[in-house]
Symmetry: C2
């Protein structure tokens, strides 16, 4: 796809991936609503296959490849949900997925990719090594590089999560979406633009990785420099294809601190009995901290993923362990250049 | 209700509680199915209000009370999910719920009851103190005692979880249900008997609290003596109203060890991204351990509850802590006499 997805592109993506994805439920919690004086509708993409909305984009990208390209497989560099999603989606089409991962990636992420049949090549934990390793893999295998977000076919598919939410819940006032590279945010913004005339789209970002916040204020993409946050899914910079859509169609962006994000995450676990990762919890953190006028409003939130190491929960981590977390994360990405 | 619930009683209960409960989703996991070579349909009562199927029974019991009794409120002794469910259900009708809890009850259970407006009276952690304190409360307040399971109005409502599961999934071969006091098991057995002609009902019990297993083998109720298991919802003995139904309509009963239950629990958390308590995980533990012929079968499992202290997960508990768990649990109930 060579230009910004149209309404028809989003509907076509929804149709293409329909039989392969879970139609995830929309959940509500009376106790959270009573506590916050609002009505929140949680679209549970943490219950999506491979544990995150990323499976929508990966499936659409893989099913959209012409046969003569698809046969050589797909490739990406990622230590996160996109890698697992791409591996599982490749399995559907019976083609290989080549995944470049930093050798320091958490064991649980490596296991996830392996369990879906992804072929892993390890590299040094820096951006240059990732890119050069990926280039070599693509050259050697003929696989097609599928970028996790800076790709219109991906964006069109991420847009389908909000489309389902709008089908299930009438008269939403706003939708709040976490932002990392901006794939889900830009897709959601397009869906709100094409299919509604009143739903505002709000971005939610960790304070410690506030490059989207700075980019929107500056009017041009600012890199994610040395991000420090527990939200391992939101470390990346915006892309050349996501930023213009975000700039045009997103109404506002707010940030939340890691302690507030962990508090929100725990609230979702304890009151809704579902597992969400820290990145999913930023929108609720923003609501809890009164960054928005929400009284009496109907609010949509997409719970983006549920891939968490249940042996290392943020509220159980002692000081020694929490050092480890930071180290691991800063290994992963020190400066993320915009694309 | 003075006799074993009829088909009409179950349908009436479903109708009575319908607008107050969540219609919980039925979830499947392709990875769990592939791993075990079967098809499991999980009815997610962990996502029910108050975090457990118990809310069905509590709501039915409270809505069934005549006005002249209801006005004085309801009472029970419980440190578990029934106490929280009864407190929340009482709120619906605007009546008080008096809860007798052992003073050693986990803080998280106390908090849950309080958050739903239940009025707690603490007592010594033994059965005699519980019963005498409850008797005093009932005498002083005029509240109606609602037993957690040995009550036909409760049983008729617990039967509605399986009724919804049967509506959502055609052609199940069997349903596997954890057994403590037998409220859910007897209700499910009645539903299978009245509404299907092929679904077998199988009971699942922790090895360390195998009184239902022994009762079925002996043909009469055996008490739960000094139960030792992580499944804090399954410590109680069968009741005079649940056992005859179970004896007549349940096809088989199997037990699982605590390590196997914890393994199954973790599989549900990691692969399905939902929070279930240990008691919910016994049926899957039994399937994993090949206690049943499941190849190619369609199996229903009711995930009974999701009330877990997320700071004390079994796979994170060190030896010192796991001593504490045992101590707390054996405080709760040393011998549970049948009712």
């Amino acid at each position: 796809m060579e230009s910004i997805p149209t309404k028809q592109d989003i509907l076509a993506a929804a149709d293409r991936i329909k039989q392969h994805i879970h139609r995830t439920p929309v959940m509500t919690s009376r106790s959270i609503n009573d506590l916050l004086g609002t009505r929140i509708f949680f679209k549970c993409e943490n219950l999506q296959k491979a544990g995150a909305f990323k499976f929508r984009g990966a499936t659409n990208a893989i099913l959209s490849l012409p046969d003569k390209m698809a046969r050589w497989g797909v490739a990406t560099h990622s230590s996160g949900n996109h890698a697992a999603a791409l591996s599982l989606a490749a399995k559907i089409r019976g083609i290989p997925a080549f995944i470049v991962m930093p050798r320091t990636a958490p064991r649980i992420k490596i296991k996830a990719v392996q369990s879906y049949g992804g072929k892993i090549t390890f590299c040094e934990p820096n951006q240059a090594a990732r890119e050069s390793t990926l280039e070599r893999i693509v050259r050697e295998t003929g696989a097609t590089f599928i970028h996790p977000y800076n790709n219109y076919t991906i964006i069109a598919a991420q847009a389908t999560a909000a489309l389902e939410l709008l089908e299930d819940v009438a008269d939403l006032d706003m939708v709040i979406i976490p932002v990392g590279g901006g794939g889900l945010l830009s897709g959601t913004a397009l869906t709100a633009h094409y299919f509604t005339n009143r739903v505002k789209v709000i971005a939610a970002e960790p304070e410690g990785a506030d490059d989207a916040y700075r980019s929107i204020k500056a009017g041009e993409i600012q890199p994610s420099v040395n991000p420090k946050t527990i939200c391992d899914g939101l470390l990346t910079s915006l892309g050349s294809r996501t930023f213009p859509i975000i700039r045009k169609y997103v109404s506002a962006i707010h940030t939340a601190s890691d302690p507030d994000i962990i508090h929100a995450m725990r609230m979702i676990w304890e009151r809704m009995k579902i597992i969400v990762e820290p990145s999913s919890s930023v929108p609720l953190a923003i609501i809890i901290n009164n960054k928005l006028k929400v009284a009496g409003k109907k609010i949509g939130v997409i719970l983006t993923g549920g891939n968490v190491d249940v042996e290392r929960l943020p509220w159980n981590v002692d000081e020694k362990n929490s050092d480890k977390v930071t180290e691991q994360q800063s290994d992963k990405e020190t400066t993320q250049r915009p694309i």
